[in-house]
């Protein structure tokens, strides 16, 4: 698969990242190289092999529905660059109406 400029722009948009137009060609090349690298795996014959979703053997890990202490609100907000009225204050993001 060849990565196009459109693929990169779409990925940036999904991640809400802003990148200057001038850096796009480099990113296209790098994305492409990463995808090609991973594509090498596709050459392996996997017929009859169950897809792996987890590396470990852990199964059925649960906790009981018991309350544990939460962080005090000022601690929870402690690392926030901006707060107001006990809330995190962030730049407004709107679902784009295209």
């Amino acid at each position: 698969m060849n990565i196009s400029k459109e693929d990169v722009v779409k990925t940036l948009r999904l991640a809400r990242l802003e990148v200057p137009e001038s850096e796009l060609p480099d990113l296209v090349r790098e994305f492409d190289s990463i995808v090609k690298y991973v594509e090498a795996v596709a050459a392996v014959d996997l017929r009859g092999v169950e897809p792996l979703s987890h590396g470990g053997d852990a199964r059925d890990v649960f906790r009981d529905d018991v309350v544990t202490p939460s962080l005090p609100a000022d601690v929870a907000l402690g690392n926030a660059p901006d707060t107001a009225g006990g809330c995190f204050r962030v730049p407004r993001v709107i679902a784009e109406p295209s």
């Binding site: 979703s53 199964r59 890990v61 529905d65």
Partner: protein, 481 residues
């Protein structure tokens, strides 16, 4: 000119999200609670801090299984969690833990037995996921304030097949679903508190044809009646488009209930690409037979089972039984009363006719001062002849304001029923002497004429005469009068 609905058949499917009634969140031990001060209920897991690891809440899985069993769905033998990635400030991890492939419940049905015409609607799936936080856009200055208390509260998303054919169907389905969820203590399903939310998919096709039309998703629906209104409006909007030679676009629209119209939120081309993949932090889990059996054994009775019990064992009318069952808090109140007085029929009557008569303006039965102990006491006092129904009503009205025990009110108001035969015989005799015409009518077989004499006796006893004994005495005296 035919109506829109004569020309077009709507095809509707619903996605309902309900918050599960657990004590804690889906993947951490923070409290699952509505209305706390902002960001008072968070921890590194639900804040999405690096390195924090989620551990699923067993109770949430059990409530999902309980739902699956109630609707006759298939419980997955092995199920797992996936990451659904999207960028929004109310989702600090940058992804929501959900179930994409292999939801915990597949299939099942909901039948509109209490609120509709008994139609059966198929479910496609129900899966576990976590709620997002709450963002509020600031009036001025382009910022959003984020409260993460809600972030991580367990949700069950219930997806119906496109089996609904009208706005009324959708309303009935939602009510029926809510009844099941509330009766089974799975969720409070309070739309105002956001513990039930619903998105609707609507398409229309010419009557008599089978292929589905292009569908539109409606969001921002805040009440069941709002859902109905939004669907009606969308049917008309699509019909107008198609009849003017246009086409329906695959899109998501936001409903504005105040304006009674919807506006475009996004078109299909800009629909988010969620890039699901299995969450490596959460191993798959198996739902063995033993677990399912245990959940089944501890599940409360289903509404239809309850209806059957109320009508056949308790002897209630279908109507009364449904009035009680359709509101789980009233139902609980009724069950408690019945357990205390062991007289379901009278308990039901006192609650649905007398107590409801006093409750005005949307008061919840949970807030009424008269408790099941009060009703049970009144039922017993009427039964043992201490009070007649009229006096018991008077006591109930007093208790509604001041819930002291009935016996205190009876004493205070001097309401003990007069059942002293000799005293009543004298009064009835006098009543007969004063109403010769009533006596003649009675002798001629006009039973209604008894009213004048019994009425007199009630007046003489200040409403405290035992009506059964009064009627008995009257019948006896008539023979010799």
């Amino acid at each position: 000119m035919s109506t829109t609905l004569e020309r077009w058949e709507p095809v509707i499917g619903l996605e309902v999200h309900v918050q599960l009634g657990t004590a804690t969140k889906m993947f951490c031990g923070c409290r699952n609670l509505f209305g706390a001060p902002p960001n008072a209920l968070t921890c590194p897991v639900c804040l999405g801090l690096p390195g924090a690891l989620p551990v699923p809440n067993r109770r949430a899985a059990e409530l999902a299984i309980r739902f699956g069993l109630a609707v006759g769905g298939t419980i997955a033998e092995v199920t797992r969690f996936d990451r659904k990635q999207y960028f929004y400030p109310d989702l600090p991890k940058g992804y929501q833990i959900s179930q994409d492939k292999g939801p915990i419940v597949t299939g099942g049905t909901v039948t509109t037995s209490f609120f509709g015409d008994g139609k059966t609607i198929r479910l496609i799936r129900a899966h576990l996921e976590e709620d997002a936080g709450k963002g509020q856009h600031e009036e001025s200055g382009g910022s959003t304030l984020v409260d993460l208390n809600r972030c991580g509260i367990p949700l069950l998303e219930i997806v119906s097949a496109p089996d609904l054919r009208s706005a009324e169907d959708a309303w009935a389905y939602l009510n029926e679903l809510r009844l099941t969820l509330r009766t089974l203590d799975i969720s409070e399903c309070d739309m105002e508190k956001g513990s039930l939310r619903c998105d609707v998919n609507v398409s229309i096709r010419p009557r008599g044809t089978t292929p589905f039309g292009d569908r539109v998703e409606l969001k921002n629906l805040n009440s069941f009646r709002g859902v109905e209104r939004a669907i009606r409006h969308e049917i008309e909007r699509q019909a107008a488009l198609l009849e003017a030679g246009g086409k329906v676009e695959l899109e998501t629209r936001l409903w504005d209930d105040e304006k009674g119209e919807s506006r475009l939120m996004r078109k299909k081309e800009s629909a988010p690409d969620y890039r699901y993949f299995p969450d490596p932090d959460l191993p798959p889990f198996a739902v063995g037979r033993a677990w399912v059996d245990r959940v089944a054994a501890e599940a409360p009775e289903l509404p239809l089972k309850r209806l059957e019990r109320y009508t056949s064992v308790y002897g209630l009318s279908d109507y009364d039984a449904k009035v009680l069952i359709t509101d789980p808090s009233i139902c609980r109140y009724f069950e408690e009363t019945t357990a205390l007085c062991n007289d379901p029929k009278n308990a039901a009557n006192w609650i649905t006719s007398e107590l409801f008569g006093l409750m005005k303006g949307g008061v919840s039965i949970d807030d009424v001062k008269v408790r099941p102990t009060h009703i049970a006491e009144l039922v017993a006092l009427v039964k043992d002849g201490t009070l007649n129904v009229r006096s018991a009503r008077e006591v109930l009205a007093k208790q509604y304001e001041d819930p002291r025990p009935a016996k205190e009110w009876v004493e205070k108001l001097g309401l003990v029923q007069v059942s002293d035969r000799d005293a009543l015989v004298a009064i009835v005799k006098k009543g007969m002497e004063m109403n010769p015409k009533a006596v003649a009518d009675l002798k001629a077989g006009k039973e209604k004429a008894a009213g004048a004499i019994v009425g007199y006796a009630m007046k003489e006893t200040k409403g405290r005469g035992n009506p059964a004994i009064l009627n008995e005495i009257l019948a006896e005296l008539l023979k010799t009068f």
